[in-house]
Symmetry: C2
Subunit: 658 residues, 2 copies
């Protein structure tokens, strides 16, 4: 039974800032670690959040704040979702009940929130580059403080982290890399480097050659040797030690001094390791072995499940509440996407699915179980994922890349240079397209704009579950070039928990014409000699607009179009509407205004559209304004950005009145 | 004297395809290498192109085609500009005079041109990802051929190449990586990995421990040892050999079998190395040491200068023609940008400049000479460059990133996530913004669209040299957030060879208001009660439009505005123009139509603009259509895309007539 009872928090209560840690005994620090763990589990049971990674980094965080002095010393937390303990120790403990709530504590680090947060971080693998930049700045400005990058073994698979380590090895700046190695990023970790680090831990391979040398030396004691021979033997030992007697030889060869591996849950050992490198001027990496979910048995047993959790009840037994809901949950778009892939894979033997370490979040792990041989989790390597898919497509496979909108930004060049130029049939499942609760770093609001500027691309978004299924089916079966299908992090419209999709005659996927739009509801107007306004809604906004129109009381009703393809536009339908006399168009999309779907319609109206009509039709784009969007519940953020059904209704009424 | 006389080409003449290479003796291959070198120098002296890298890879290419069989075996040429020899050997020799000419031979590889080109490549570091994808496809499709990635030591610094090697080490696919190591990318190479590989070559460090062991063994012969001790010594030697007796230990540890280093100009040795790994099923890396510019003395001496060369005359002495022009050349925008940086750096001690391996192309090498301590060439690491700059800005420096438009695509996420969210004052000099002769992979046409969709960004483009200088000065002095200044690869308007800029009272940089547009020429109209059309020209198109308007014969003349800021728009001027009754606007930009400057004006007119006027102003965007642009002279490509002065004039006249 993983229940949690009220425990004392005497040590934690005494902490007002990092300074107090410096006075505490190691034993007390270890007790404090226990209290912090308890508080994290208890707190996240109410708010949800990144549980396992924060349980794993308690002692490392305590040791960092014990040995170093923030905010003078700068700690760069890679990804930032591992910084809850850091937040607790730097004056934010009493706000934990607001974690990830609108206007509450951010789920990541951000200097806006505290001077102890040296930078913002939501995406992986940025910390070493930031540290190198800050170390150069420190030296240039003749300052004297430590710059520390805390990165996980998962973050280390990201190309830019490797670029930064390579550069750091070259310029030899005073940077400390703290490698928090728990053998997994979000999913299980991938890569030669991960295997290598695993080998370090398992075998400590360097020991046996040292033992062998010692043994020879012992035996030689028994025979008579000249001084010269002894010198040589010592020299060999010295060289062996210098060059090979380190498990971190790869890092050493790249110019980063390595120490470890060290038990990352032994506060004393971690403090000592940091003390030992604290005053070194050359770059250092300290390799700490931790256990994700440490100290909370369900999370230790399944840290993937407990990576990010919704709020949960602690009693009765957690697992029942977190995982085994008594009744099945409504399907999300991610679920529908994965199921569609699994279904079409049956008769498409060359379909393969690729994910850059988001197999769980995207639900694609289910595909991996169904087709392990056709499933590729490449770790946090968005660039490699996309270009590898391009190579696969060129060589005759049908690759599908499942990727979050915000992470696809990392592979923009690969999308253009490797996929689009050769017009390769790679299907992109762009998950989390739109607003998400995670805040500025994770908003999926740019994909419509940047994907539609790439020649050869088809950019789709479904109005509901059945359409997503059919888009996936059609894209896999028929597409001759790259296709992106974007969908939000939300329950899928029309999907029931039992896997049926409303509005479809059968549950079989169908070939559709996804680049043709459909008129869902013809409008009515009372204005003489005029045609109703036309609403062109894209993806998630189709159903939202439908709901908005239901609240309408006026006799005036606009025509509602499911504009499911932002590229190409359905210019045939647009042309018809123009010829038919429609002169007011409203576009609605869950993406940035700048360069988005609205801009696409405006561009067309101002060029090809101008050949059709002499009039100048009005086009009013409704989209996300030009600013970063904070964290908070999706419903709040949609409303804040004018995309709730209420705000949409108000805006449409205003347009119609004009 | 580096003159070139006509030489026999009997071996080269006999080659109709790779098959013939398999019959030739090694001696004849070496002779063929000489003929190919001669032909490359001779041919590039007429067309220009990538000289040094192709001279360096002659023997490797011969050996590849000797041992492997394209197009069945797939060779992925990283970057692709090193593939001239490959092109000569695969049926394209007789088209070399058209190299990089419009409708001529591409300067890179592309399957559109030959089945022997397995993929397209123009950007660096993609080959291993492609190879991994193609190897997975091969195995899945039960095919049987070799997949080979040919990558330089420069390409290996790119994060995505490291991502791919890491993944390859994990999945252990049959891929051969040919590492063409000439110790430089375009500029001199940077990074711990480069230093490591250099050490491999210089010291072959593993040898001395082996020698020491041998020596001990020899000495021990002289004393009496038991059999058990001998066994131990042999075991130590075996372990030392297995584990350490390889210079490629870093690759080995990542799971890639290493062989080398091998002299890459010894055809026989290279052929043998390829034969040795040909039938291995695990991933292999063969490390070949080459000399860029091999066989052509001026290029060997200065391979950076000869990286990419314009057409040159072979007699008299090359160096005079290529480099020491009798009179100074007109300054390019790159020159002006670098000079502006050097000038402002004088009284801005915290200004630092960063380049991802394009110091020569961008002219920034001159800044590096003036301020070596403030100059950072991070190798081919666009992502790291941008995030490092973000760290620098946060820590108090004034970083300026000089980067080509096409390569900035690689750092899109870093621009958003690391620079823009915190609104950090990083200045981007976006070089090669617009059309370039290099073709699809290098066109800098997307930056306006993707940068302007990022909140907090200012996106500028100067109309001439003096304005570029003033923009740089103002951005460095005054900007509080990220600023991008884009300029084309072209002679700078108004710059003379002696460094004076026309149109400015003095040659001192001035603070300007770069986000305010300026009316350059007021228009005239003969239409009663109407206002002239307004042309909003951006960056390079300001002068082009000015020239177009000069050819106008009609009495009707539009107003010409230098719309130097695409973000923010000068909404104050736009509002004035609307209130003043102007109702026709033409935007002109050297960027993609989708989401570009025209879209920005359309968006504003359809939202804020609608609050100002009851009318519906016409906005006609002139921009690059939605397709990839091939290679050819810039003037040709501009005309092809409607952006020559003739095409602009025609288009404007058409609009005015409507």
């Amino acid at each position: 039974m993983h229940t949690l009872t009220k425990q004392p928090t005497s040590f934690l209560d005494a902490i007002t800032g990092p300074a107090e840690l410096k006075q505490m005994s190691v034993e007390d620090l270890q007790k404090l670690a226990g209290e912090i763990r308890h508080e994290i589990v208890s707190s996240l049971s109410r708010t949800g959040g990144h549980l396992a990674s924060n349980l794993g980094i308690v002692e490392i965080t305590l040791a960092l704040h014990r040995v170093f002095n923030t905010p003078q010393d700068q700690i760069l937390w890679d990804v930032g979702h591992q910084a809850y303990v850091h937040k607790m120790l730097t004056g934010r403990r009493n706000r934990f009940d607001t974690l990830r709530q609108f206007k509450g504590l951010s789920g990541f680090v951000t200097p806006v929130e505290s001077e102890h947060d040296a930078f913002v971080a939501g995406h992986s693998s940025t910390s070493v580059s930031l540290a190198v930049g800050m170390a150069i700045a420190r030296d240039h400005l003749k300052q004297d403080h430590k710059v520390i990058a805390v990165i996980g073994d998962g973050g280390l698979t990201g190309g830019m982290a490797l670029e930064a380590i390579n550069h750091l090895g070259h310029i030899q700046k005073n940077v400390l890399i703290v490698l928090n190695d728990n053998e997994m990023s979000i999913s299980e970790n991938t890569g030669g480097l991960a295997l290598y680090m695993k080998r370090i831990k398992e075998t400590f391979f360097y020991r046996d050659i040292k033992e062998k040398l010692d043994s020879i030396e012992g035996s030689l004691d028994k025979v008579q040797l000249t001084a010269g021979i002894w010198d040589m033997i010592l020299e060999v030992k010295k060289q062996a030690k210098e060059r090979f007697d380190t498990p971190g030889i790869v890092f050493e060869k790249l110019g980063i001094n390595y120490s470890g591996p060290i038990d990352g849950h032994d506060v004393d050992a971690v403090v000592q390791a940091f003390e030992a490198v604290k005053d070194k001027s050359a770059p250092q990496i300290v390799h700490l072995i931790t256990c994700k979910g440490k100290g909370y048995q369900p999370a230790e047993d399944d840290s993937i499940k407990y990576h990010g959790v919704p709020a949960f009840s602690l009693e009765p037994q957690l697992s029942e509440k977190v995982d085994e809901s008594p009744k099945p949950k409504p399907k999300t778009y991610s679920d529908v996407f994965t199921q569609a892939l699994i279904d079409v894979a049956k008769d498409e033997p060359n379909l393969v699915a690729i994910t850059p370490a988001t197999a769980e979040g995207s639900g694609l792990v289910k595909f991996g179980k169904a087709y392990p041989e056709r499933f590729f989790d490449v770790a946090i390597c968005e660039q490699h994922a996309v270009t590898m898919a391009a190579g696969m497509a060129k060589a005759g496979l049908k690759p599908v890349v499942s990727i979050y909108s915000t992470f696809l930004q990392r592979a923009m060049d690969q999308v253009i240079h490797d996929v689009a130029i050769l017009n390769l049939p790679v299907v992109f499942g762009v998950d989390r397209g739109g607003l998400v609760e995670d805040g500025e770093t994770h908003q999926g609001v740019f994909d419509i704009a940047y994907l539609r500027s790439v020649p050869n691309f088809t950019v789709l978004a479904p109005k509901d579950a059945a359409e997503l299924r059919d888009m996936v089916y059609t894209a896999v079966k028929e597409s001759k070039g790259p296709v992106a299908i974007r969908f939000p992090r939300d329950k899928a419209v029309g999907a029931t928990a039992d896997g049926e999709y409303s509005g479809t005659p059968s549950n079989q996927p169908r070939l559709i014409e996804p680049t043709r739009w459909e008129i869902l509801q013809p409008g009515v107007t009372t204005k003489k000699d005029q045609k109703p306004a036309v609403i062109l809604a894209y993806g998630s906004m189709v159903d939202m607009t439908r709901q908005a129109l239901e609240t309408f009381e006026s006799a005036e009703k606009p025509t509602l179009v499911n504009a499911r393809s932002v590229k190409p536009l359905d210019v045939s339908l647009l042309g018809e509407l123009l010829r038919d006399g429609h002169d007011t168009f409203i576009t609605i999309e869950e993406g940035c205004l700048s360069g988005g779907f609205g801009a696409a319609v405006l561009e067309w109206m101002s060029t090809a559209g101008q050949e059709i009509t002499d009039g100048l039709p009005r086009v009013i784009p409704i989209a996300i304004p030009d600013q970063f969007v904070e964290h908070g519940a999706r419903a709040i953020l949609l409303d804040l950005n004018g995309l709730s059904k209420e705000k949409i209704a108000q805006r449409i009424e205003k347009v119609l009145k004009k």
